[in-house]
């Protein structure tokens, strides 16, 4: 801890830009400097070599610590950190997340931005603005050092310092209070009982004993901070976004003429998707008009795709029924949600089971998308039978859902009555006339078989109590008719066997 070198330079408050710049321009000291240092303590036993090694991989980590985030819940915190990471990407390509903190590598950006002060000022402005926008306190702590954990600890301590050389890290960290470490209550109490207030006190302790008393995580944390252990970090990858915009050279009212332009934008989109191995299941096409709100077309796909042909086809279908209030002056395609791309698997063996061809769903999906785009979402129905005695309720017509494995199928069954059922049911039963003692619909009716009594729904107030017969009309039609068991005992036509 009596390293004169470290005493002379640290801690360096980041106040005067000149001083910061000076530090950066310091020539790197010979590597043997670390070796010269007497290795007094046990933690240092194996330290000399790794430090020498780490000297070569020069990196400088800039840590940003936001104590005000501590009060936010984790989801909110993640959302905010995500946005801040986006800002930090303007100075570095490597940004990683830590609790209430963000860390980025800036050594590689120093030359471009001409010094760490420029970087800091740039970030400070962006982050303060963002924090003010969220209505949070706009103060934050920062530090930079050659290790990720080191920077994090320094930032947490609240001293805004810069440690440029790895060999100075030890003494710089040594001055920090043990409060900056990630410790649980028990560990904290134990450290306190041992009379350890600062990290430099820990340096003097044997690592074996520390490991035994505080666990390997504790020792690892310190080793990482000193650059003696590898620090894998998970880098922030910004979510993909696609916006393609085209200003039309002149106003276009005819949608057919717009199609080639939209097609061109779709080509860009498909290229974008292909490069990132993504696909999309929804995109928004906007047509801008002079002095009017833009027209938006939501194109939704049942299965994510990146085939230009497919998207163009859907767009054409949408354009077929679209009418625009005014000529379009610009066109934009925007995609916000992306899906992973799954390639279609083809069978290696063409004729595995002759007679039965397993038709890929992709064709059908494409067709269904077109159908729904043209007719409207709720115009295409799927049918299924339900476990109900009441004939009106035994057949369900459901919307053909986006999800192929339709949910809510509990009530749906494949078991049906053994008695004959007609293929067609009338929306409302139609009362039959009796003419000269014979039932009459369009022509006289003769009963073929029956009756089948259906008695149900007595609990709902609308009592269903009917005797069903299969009948034949004198025209060849076969009918499903019933007679009410109560009330006026009228005859009704309920369906056709068709």
């Amino acid at each position: 801890m009596k390293d004169p070198d470290s005493e002379a330079q640290l801690p360096l408050p980041w106040i005067a830009p000149e001083s910061g710049a000076q530090i950066i321009q310091l020539p790197a000291r010979p590597k043997n400097l670390a070796k010269q240092r007497p290795s007094k303590t046990a933690t240092d036993e194996a330290s000399a070599k790794p430090i020498a090694k780490h000297n070569k991989s020069k990196s400088l980590w800039y840590a940003l610590y936001l104590p005000q985030f501590r009060e936010l819940d984790s989801a909110q915190q993640k959302k905010y950190l995500d946005q801040l990471a986006g800002h930090m990407q303007s100075v570095s390509s490597t940004v990683s997340f830590h609790p209430q903190a963000l860390i980025c590598e800036i050594r590689s950006s120093l030359k471009y931005f001409a010094g760490i002060d420029v970087i800091h000022q740039k970030l400070q402005k962006l982050i303060e603005e963002q924090l003010q926008q969220w209505g949070l306190a706009d103060n934050f702590f920062y530090a930079a050092s050659p290790t990720v954990s080191g920077s994090l600890l320094l930032a947490r301590s609240g001293n805004n310092v810069l440690v440029y050389r790895p060999e100075n890290l030890r003494s710089a960290l040594g001055q920090l209070s043990t409060d900056v470490l990630d410790l649980n209550k028990e560990q904290r109490r134990r450290l306190l009982n041992m009379g350890i207030r600062h990290l430099r006190d820990i340096w003097r302790l044997p690592s074996d004993g520390l490991r035994k008393r505080f666990g390997s995580n504790f020792v690892n944390q310190l080793n990482k901070a000193l650059g003696k252990a590898a620090e894998p970090t998970q880098n922030y990858i910004p979510p993909p976004a696609f916006v393609a915009y085209y200003d039309l050279p002149y106003e276009i009212e005819n949608l057919d003429r717009l199609l080639p332009i939209a097609d061109e934008l779709l080509a860009q989109l498909c290229d974008f998707l292909r490069r990132r191995d993504l696909s999309t299941s929804s995109l928004i096409l906007s047509l801008f008009h002079e002095k009017r709100d833009s027209t938006e077309v939501n194109i939704r796909l049942r299965m994510a795709s990146r085939s230009q042909q497919h998207l163009t086809l859907l767009l054409e279908t949408h354009f077929d029924k679209l009418s625009i209030p005014a000529p379009a002056v610009a066109i934009k395609i925007e995609v916000k949600k992306f899906d992973a791309f799954f390639a279609k698997n083809d069978s290696l063996l063409q004729d595995e089971a002759p007679g039965y061809t397993s038709y890929s769903d992709s064709n059908l999906n494409q067709f269904m998308e077109q159908l729904q785009a043209r007719l409207g979402e709720n115009h295409v129905k799927s049918v299924s039978s339900a476990t109900q005695h009441c004939p009106e309720h035994a057949s369900l017509q459901l919307d053909y859902k986006e999800n192929p494995n339709r949910e809510g199928r509990a009530a749906i069954s494949t078991e049906v009555s053994a008695n004959p059922r007609p293929l067609w049911l009338l929306q409302e039963p139609k009362q039959l006339n009796i003419n000269k003692g014979r039932l009459f619909y369009r022509k006289p009716i003769t009963i073929v078989s029956g009756p089948e009594r259906i008695e149900t729904h007595w609990w709902s107030g609308v009592d269903v109590c009917r005797d069903y017969y299969v009948a034949r009309e004198h025209s060849g039609s076969r009918l499903w008719i019933y007679r009410e068991k109560s009330g006026k005992r009228n005859w009704f036509l309920h369906g056709f066997f068709a």
Binding site: L371, L375, H379, S382, V383, S384, S385, L423, K443, F497
Partner: protein, 243 residues
């Protein structure tokens, strides 16, 4: 039980000129060589034959109907017109075996604006998987319905497309026929009136066959036109086998 008869009131012009029965009697025992020559030549087609007597079609499920259809069954693709004086004359029963085979192939059946509610329990009873049945609602405009039909016919996965449209111009029918050809699919049009110059390969008519003396169970199905048949034939079929 199979009754095949020349339809008495048919107006086909060459019926009088060519009678298969007479033709057969012309070939005596001595003309067996000629017969052999003629039958041995696959490129030769005789008017009295039904084109391609070999069973290349898809069986209708009714032997009587198979017997009067070229290829002994429904064609693999194209349009079928079913003409009935009103809906519910057994026209769907006629197609049940076809629907079943389409579903077994893993293809879908699309019903475009049927006049009544399609009743799922009956489909289940007929052995048709309702998961592969889709219905386009009745209140769809005629233009949209035809558009859907054309698109469905072009889609290979839709094995069978059923539509209820009464008056369709020849141009539209031809377009649908083309769509069915490209998609390898079958389209069925149900209508009340026959249009003589329709390009559909098969036109069927289901007739009122009620008679007081108990001819009760059978409907008369007339093949007005079938590509390959040179005259119209009819058969009496019990369509309601299950009911």
């Amino acid at each position: 039980m199979t009754i095949i008869q020349n339809h008495s009131d048919t107006q086909l012009p060459f019926q009088n000129q060519y009678q298969p029965a007479q033709a057969d009697s012309l070939h005596g025992a001595g003309s067996s060589d000629i017969d052999e020559l003629i039958q041995g030549n696959p490129k030769l087609w005789r008017g009295c034959d039904m084109a391609g007597q070999d069973a290349h079609g898809r069986s209708t499920g009714f032997t009587q109907l198979d017997a009067i259809l070229p290829g002994c069954g429904w064609p693999e693709k194209g349009l079928i017109e079913v003409i009935t004086p009103h809906w519910g004359m057994g026209e769907l029963q006629l197609l049940i075996p076809l629907m079943r085979s389409v579903v077994e192939q893993g293809k879908w059946i699309l019903w475009i604006s049927p006049p009544y509610l399609l009743y799922a329990p009956a489909l289940v009873q007929a052995g048709i998987n309702t998961d592969q049945v889709l219905v386009v609602k009745l209140d769809t405009s005629c233009k949209d319905a035809l558009w859907s039909m054309e698109k469905a016919l072009q889609t290979e996965n839709c094995g069978l497309v059923l539509a209820w449209q009464n008056w369709l111009p020849t141009k539209v029918l031809r377009r649908l026929q083309l769509a069915a050809d490209t998609g390898d699919t079958l389209g069925v049009l149900f209508k009340h009136h026959d249009s003589e110059h329709s390009p559909s390969p098969i036109r069927l008519k289901i007739d009122d066959s009620y008679s007081e003396n108990g001819g009760f169970n059978e409907s008369e199905v007339t093949v007005i036109k079938a590509r390959g048949n040179f005259r119209s034939l009819s058969a009496n079929i019990n369509l309601y086998q299950q009911a």
